[in-house]
């Protein structure tokens, strides 16, 4: 937690600001004209861009600065101790569906958030797995993310409808990973990580 008394500027260390780097409400504990405040702002902006640059439809709900979603969601994420891993967009979806914006969360937004999640998995996961399959209960199609597998390629995202649908996940979202670049198996749904 930030110290109660403000240290002279040159004494700040990143290590003393860590909580505030991902909790917007804590930024106010630091003087507005301090390097510490700006450093925290720099960190928080990356979370903002990770949400709103990838899913600009969220701005249609929140207004152009996104803060009506960003600040309460980040506070909730801290309370829930979300790891902010690839599933962050799915937790945002869950939060939206419990928020004042619930009535405006349509199927298109759900799939946008699912696509963002599998894309983040495909670029950030470092396991030997090659792909991920994500399903939302009541939403039919699957979202599939593939890691880069050619030198000039990148991650790839597909929305897939199966002729014979898989069983629905027990929870709102479920996923499984693929050890090869083939969508040829189903070992059951796993709950998305916090």
């Amino acid at each position: 937690m930030p110290p109660e008394s403000v240290l002279p500027e040159p004494q700040w260390k990143d290590a003393e600001l860590l909580d505030a780097l991902l909790i917007p409400a804590l930024q106010g504990n630091f003087p507005r004209d301090s390097a510490a405040f700006v450093r925290i702002d720099t960190s928080l902006r990356v979370y903002w861009h990770t949400l709103f640059d990838i899913c600009p439809q969220l701005l249609e709900l929140s207004g152009p600065d996104g803060l009506a979603i960003f600040r309460p969601f980040m506070a909730w994420a801290a309370q829930q101790q979300l790891s902010m891993n690839w599933a962050v967009y799915l937790w945002l979806c869950r939060w939206l569906q419990q928020s004042e914006f619930a009535a405006r969360v349509d199927e298109e937004l759900v799939f946008t958030l699912m696509a963002a999640s599998v894309a983040r998995w495909a670029t950030g996961d470092r396991s030997a797995d090659c792909g991920i399959v994500l399903s939302a209960a009541g939403h039919g199609d699957l979202l599939v993310g593939w890691k880069c597998h050619t030198p000039d390629g990148g991650r790839a995202i597909e929305r897939v409808g199966l002729a014979t649908p898989l069983p629905e996940p027990d929870e709102q979202f479920g996923y499984f990973t693929l050890p090869d670049f083939a969508l040829d198996r189903f070992d059951g749904w796993q709950a998305v990580p916090r």
Binding site: T42, Q81, P151
Partner: protein, 273 residues
């Protein structure tokens, strides 16, 4: 001095291939953990130049051993097959309290030395390779202890410093520590990074290592002033660009670097003339 360019994902393949073809670069640095699903033979065939490996998300200071063991095994396959010029990784904090920091944080150099040293020794042993560790672009005063920390770490572990010139210039511009404080370490280092930076949106302005802008005059001036500290047999300098791939701008920056570090054969021609 070999000059290189970073390659993080396929969308810049055309640019990188042109830089290789036009001899604007001598090697390519792969953000290797983005390519662990690509067979090494395909990577070897795709680049008609030597390769460097930069590891981004091992998070070796924080990750559990099972994760690192699995990653090391896969990295090792690529290292064996592609024989990179160097393998580098980061001294930085990626998580806090089990939560991901999207903007990496600087470690606490005063309290974390023993842990970092032990992890560097472990990670080097698992990769079977000398690791070159990158300095952080310090934003706050804690970064003042960085050069001394790295000197001790390198002495104790045998690791190398991947000295990021612009990270040191960022720290200097942020009032943390003069870039000259790194000179003894630069003299001993072989592998270097350089990139553009931008100022923070809010004031008081901080200088941020953004990799999306042309090289700044102060960065190039530092490089030119201490050219002999950098230039040595086997030395590499990677120009990093992760956004705003303005090719004319990139060409100009690479030419500016080449003007500071002419190719040996270019120098021989100049001497002969």
């Amino acid at each position: 001095m070999r000059i290189g360019f970073n390659f993080t994902l396929g969308s810049t393949m055309g640019l990188v291939q042109r830089l290789i073809r036009e001899r604007r670069i001598d090697y390519c640095e792969l953000l290797i953990d983005n390519f662990l699903q690509v067979p090494p033979a395909q990577l070897a065939a795709a680049f008609d130049c030597p390769l460097g490996f930069h590891i981004m998300f091992s998070k070796f200071l924080e990750s559990d051993v099972d994760y690192l063991e699995a990653m090391a095994e896969r990295l090792h396959r690529h290292i064996e097959a592609l024989q990179p010029l160097y393998v580098s990784d980061h001294i930085a904090r990626f998580n806090h309290g089990g939560r991901q920091l999207y903007h990496l944080a600087e470690i606490d150099y005063d309290s974390e030395y023993r842990h970092v040293r032990d992890r560097v020794e472990y990670w080097q042993a698992r990769l079977g390779q000398r690791l070159h560790l990158e300095n952080y672009p310090s934003l706050l005063g804690g970064g003042r202890a960085a050069p001394e920390f790295f000197a001790r770490l390198i002495r104790d572990t045998g690791a190398g410093l991947l000295f990021d010139v612009s990270n040191a210039i960022c720290a200097q511009r942020n009032g943390v520590i003069a870039a000259e404080a790194w000179l003894p370490l630069i003299e001993a280092a072989t592998h270097f990074h350089i990139a553009g930076y931008r100022e923070s949106i809010l004031a008081p302005k901080l200088t941020l290592d953004t990799h999306d802008a042309p090289l700044a005059d102060d960065t190039l001036e530092f490089l030119a002033r201490y050219r002999t500290h950098f230039d040595k047999p086997g030395a590499t300098l990677t120009y990093e660009r992760d956004d705003r791939f303005d090719e004319a701008e990139i060409d100009r920056d690479l030419a500016a670097l080449r003007a500071i570090f002419p190719r040996l054969d270019d120098r021989e021609h100049a001497d002969a003339a």
